[in-house]
Every structure is written in structure tokens, then in C-alpha cells.
């Protein structure tokens, strides 16, 4: 056994920190090694001697002082808590002073009156909004008409986009949109016009305008879009214009087939 291991085991044994198996093993080791047994015996006597050193009992005075100290600490802690609570209660107390109470009362009256006055006038801004809205619609219709007359295709597309924002369109705008569908040189603008007009299919002018527009279209994509729309609407009035269109020599073969199918599904 190494020296340090032996030293550790001596202390574990003497200080009663060994379990039974460890005790047996250590006792066996001491029996087998007499030189270690001598060292152990000598230290064991000294250890017992230290145990024998008597320590007097502490006096009652120690208890008295301790509990006085503890009591004073508990009170200090309690006072600190009370202080923080009283800070809040002081504020509350302050609120009950007559001057502060009157101020709060006046403030409450002011706020209530303000609220009621606001409630009375609340209908005025609503009316204003309605008026404002109709004014805005008028301005927007003018804007649509102006934009659709612009030479730039982007501006005309912007015009159609503005028309889509109008909840109830004027006949003038519908006519302008139909005019765009029939005459605009740009295919995208014409397609956008069809999309915009589909918002007002309840309007007979729109439906009639779309049907009459069929024979005026030379772009295959616009022709197919209108064919799809007529099929969806099951618009029988569109059959004749489609047949007229089919008789046109320049008509794209695919479009012709598409129109044939459309006519069949409408009939």
C-alpha cells in the first residue's frame, strides 16, 4: 500500500468514515503488516486523546445573545417590508386629501363630458365619409376616363385598375371600358378591359358590349378569352358573332376549333 493511501485509510478508520467491508479489509492489512500496525496504534492513541479533550458547555448567555440578535433581525426585516407597504399606502392616503379628491372629480367630469361630446359628433364624420366617398368615386371616374385616353399603355392599364376600385360604375366608365376593349391597340389592355368588365356582368350594356366586341377582335388570345367568357355565361347571343368570326379567312385554326367547341357548348 502506498504511503498516502495508508495515511488516508488511517484517517477514514479513526474518524469512523469506513463501511464494514472497508474496516475488515483495513484490519486484515494491519494484521499482515506489523510495521503499519505500530504506526496505526500510536496515532490511534493520540486520536483518542484528542477525543478526550473536554470542551466546556457554552453558557446560557450565548443563547440569550443569539435570540436577541435573531429577534432584532426579524424585526428589521418586518420593518423594511412595512416601509415598502407604507410607501404605497401613503400614496393612497394622499389621494383622499380633499384637494386631490376634488381634482380627481373634476378630471373625471371633464373626461366624461369630453367622451359624450365626442359620441354626439361621431355621426358627423360618418356622413362626411359617405359624402367624401361619393366625391372620391366621381374623381376616380374622371381619372379612369382620363387615363384610358392616354397614349401610354401603362397609363391605360392603370386606368382600368382604377376602374376596378369603383364600387358602382357610371355608364360613362362602362362605355369607356368597352371602347378600350374594341379599339385599344394593346392586347394586354384589351384583356384587362375584359377582366374589368366581368365585374359588371349584371349590367345588360356590358353583356351586349362584350357580344358585339367578338367580331371586332383580331387577337387570338382575346378571341379565346371572350369565347371562354361566353361559354361561362352561356350567352346565346354570342353564337352568331362567333360564326361570323369563323368565316373570316385570317382566323387562327386553333381559335377556330376553340370557337366551334364553344358554340357547341353554348347551344
Amino acid at each position: 500500500m502506498e504511503k498516502e493511501t495508508f495515511e488516508s485509510k488511517v484517517i477514514d478508520f479513526l474518524s469512523d468514515r469506513m463501511n464494514e467491508a472497508e474496516i475488515k479489509e483495513f484490519e486484515k492489512f494491519l494484521n499482515d503488516h506489523s510495521e503499519y500496525q505500530v504506526q496505526f496504534d500510536a496515532l490511534s492513541r493520540t486520536w483518542r486523546g484528542v477525543d478526550g479533550i473536554e470542551v466546556p458547555e457554552p453558557t446560557e448567555n450565548m443563547d440569550v445573545r443569539f435570540f436577541e440578535m435573531l429577534q432584532s433581525e426579524i424585526e428589521k426585516e418586518k420593518n423594511a417590508k412595512d416601509d415598502s407597504e407604507s410607501w404605497f399606502s401613503k400614496i393612497l392616503e394622499g389621494l383622499w386629501k380633499p384637494q386631490v379628491a376634488y381634482s380627481i372629480l373634476l378630471l373625471t367630469i371633464g373626461l366624461t363630458a369630453g367622451y359624450l361630446m365626442n359620441a354626439d359628433t361621431s355621426s358627423v364624420p360618418m356622413k362626411t365619409t359617405i359624402v367624401g366617398n361619393s366625391e372620391t368615386e366621381e374623381v376616380r371616374e374622371q381619372l379612369v376616363l382620363t387615363l384610358l385616353d392616354q397614349p401610354s399603355a401603362n397609363k391605360r392599364l392603370q386606368g382600368i385598375s382604377e376602374a376596378n376600385k369603383i364600387s358602382k360604375v357610371d355608364e360613362t366608365v362602362i362605355k369607356a371600358l368597352l371602347k378600350t376593349l374594341n379599339n385599344d391597340p394593346n392586347v394586354n389592355v384589351r384583356l384587362a378591359a375584359i377582366a374589368s368588365l366581368t365585374n359588371y356582368l349584371d349590367n345588360p350594356i356590358v353583356r351586349e358590349g362584350l357580344v358585339q366586341s367578338i367580331i371586332k377582335q383580331d387577337s387570338p388570345i382575346v378571341q379565346v378569352t371572350l369565347a371562354n367568357l361566353m361559354v361561362a355565361l352561356q350567352e346565346k347571343k354570342s353564337v352568331e358573332p362567333f360564326r361570323t368570326l369563323m368565316r373570316t379567312k385570317e382566323l387562327n385554326e386553333s381559335v377556330k376549333e376553340k370557337l366551334e367547341t364553344s358554340i357547341k357548348s353554348i347551344i
Partner: protein, 184 residues
């Protein structure tokens, strides 16, 4: 068996239930007093130091995590209190040691009829006082088997094995001093 462990009580103290420190005091006052008495041989000083330990435990209760044992934490505090006392009263120590030994001898005469045993204890007492401070300290801590050596290592700032070897060497030194004194 204690209804609440030391750790549980100290955690209650930490959370503001200061009353529980009274229970811890009752459990450990004698052990702490014995530790200090064996270090300084003065009953009145030891009583003061026990008080200081509990004052410090209250002050630094927020540092108690409950992870280690309460005993180890308490003795770490006790050791710091003892060191502070020694630093402050360095010059007075020799004188107090002498008066304490006399006090101890009187105690022995009162309580022990066996003169040889009294002599042995008196010599061992004197030998203890000649033992360097830190060696006396580890011998005293080793006596409390409730504290694991790993915790003693923590208190002293060394490993468990080193703490055991230190305790062994302190005991060996004490024996040598005792033998020298016995020969005289």
C-alpha cells in the same frame, strides 16, 4: 430524526423565514462552540465567534444554494470567522492560550479523578496549542464525521485525498509534539 433537514431549514431562512435560524442554532451551537474552543481555548471568545457565524449566515443567506451540505457551508463560514478573529488578535493569542490552559486544567481537576489521565490530557491540550493553526483546524474538522472529506477538501480548498493526508500529518505532528512535551 429531524423533521426538516438542515438544508431545507437554511433554504427557508434564505426565503425570508428567519425564525428557522433558531432551529439551526439549537442543532449546531455545541459543535460550533467546540470547534472554536479547540482552536482558541477561550470559552467567551468561542461564544462570540458562534454568534458571529450566525450573524454572517444571516447576512450572506442569499449565497446558500442548497446544493452542498449545510454543515460544510456553516464550517466554511466558521473558518472565515475564525481567520478574521486571528488576524485581529494576533498579539493577544499567546496570552489567551496560557489562561485557557489553566482554565482547562481546573476543569480537568474538577471532573477527572485519574491523575495520570489528567496529566495526559493537560499535555495533549498544550500540544494542541503548539500545533500550527491550520493543522489544528483540519483535525477539528475531521472529528465531525457528518462532514464528508470531499467537503472538508472544499472548505480548505484542496482535494478529498489531500485533505485526508493533511489530517493524518496533523495527527502525526500532534503526537510528536506530545511526546516531546511528555519527556520534559
Amino acid at each position: 430524526m429531524h423533521a426538516l433537514t438542515d438544508n431545507a431549514l437554511m433554504l427557508k431562512v434564505k426565503s425570508g423565514d428567519l425564525d428557522k435560524l433558531g432551529l439551526l442554532y439549537e442543532r449546531h451551537k455545541k459543535r460550533l462552540f467546540g470547534f472554536f474552543y479547540n482552536m482558541n481555548r477561550s470559552a467567551s471568545v468561542s461564544e462570540d465567534l458562534v454568534q458571529n457565524v450566525f450573524v454572517r449566515m444571516l447576512k450572506y443567506r442569499h449565497t446558500f444554494t442548497g446544493e452542498g451540505s449545510f454543515l460544510a457551508w456553516m464550517f466554511r463560514t466558521a473558518r472565515n470567522v475564525n481567520h478574521d478573529y486571528y488576524r485581529k488578535h494576533k498579539n493577544e493569542n499567546n496570552q489567551s492560550e496560557l489562561s485557557s490552559i489553566e482554565y482547562k486544567l481546573e476543569d480537568s481537576e474538577n471532573f477527572n479523578s485519574d491523575m495520570d489521565k489528567d496529566d495526559d490530557i493537560a499535555i495533549l491540550n498544550r500540544a494542541m496549542q503548539k500545533l500550527p493553526h491550520e493543522k489544528r483546524e483540519i483535525l477539528m474538522l475531521s472529528k465531525y464525521k457528518e462532514i464528508k472529506f470531499s467537503e472538508i477538501g472544499e472548505i480548505l480548498g484542496c482535494s478529498e485525498g489531500a485533505a485526508k493526508v493533511k489530517a493524518h500529518r496533523a495527527l502525526k505532528d500532534l503526537r510528536e509534539i506530545y511526546l516531546q512535551m511528555e519527556i520534559r
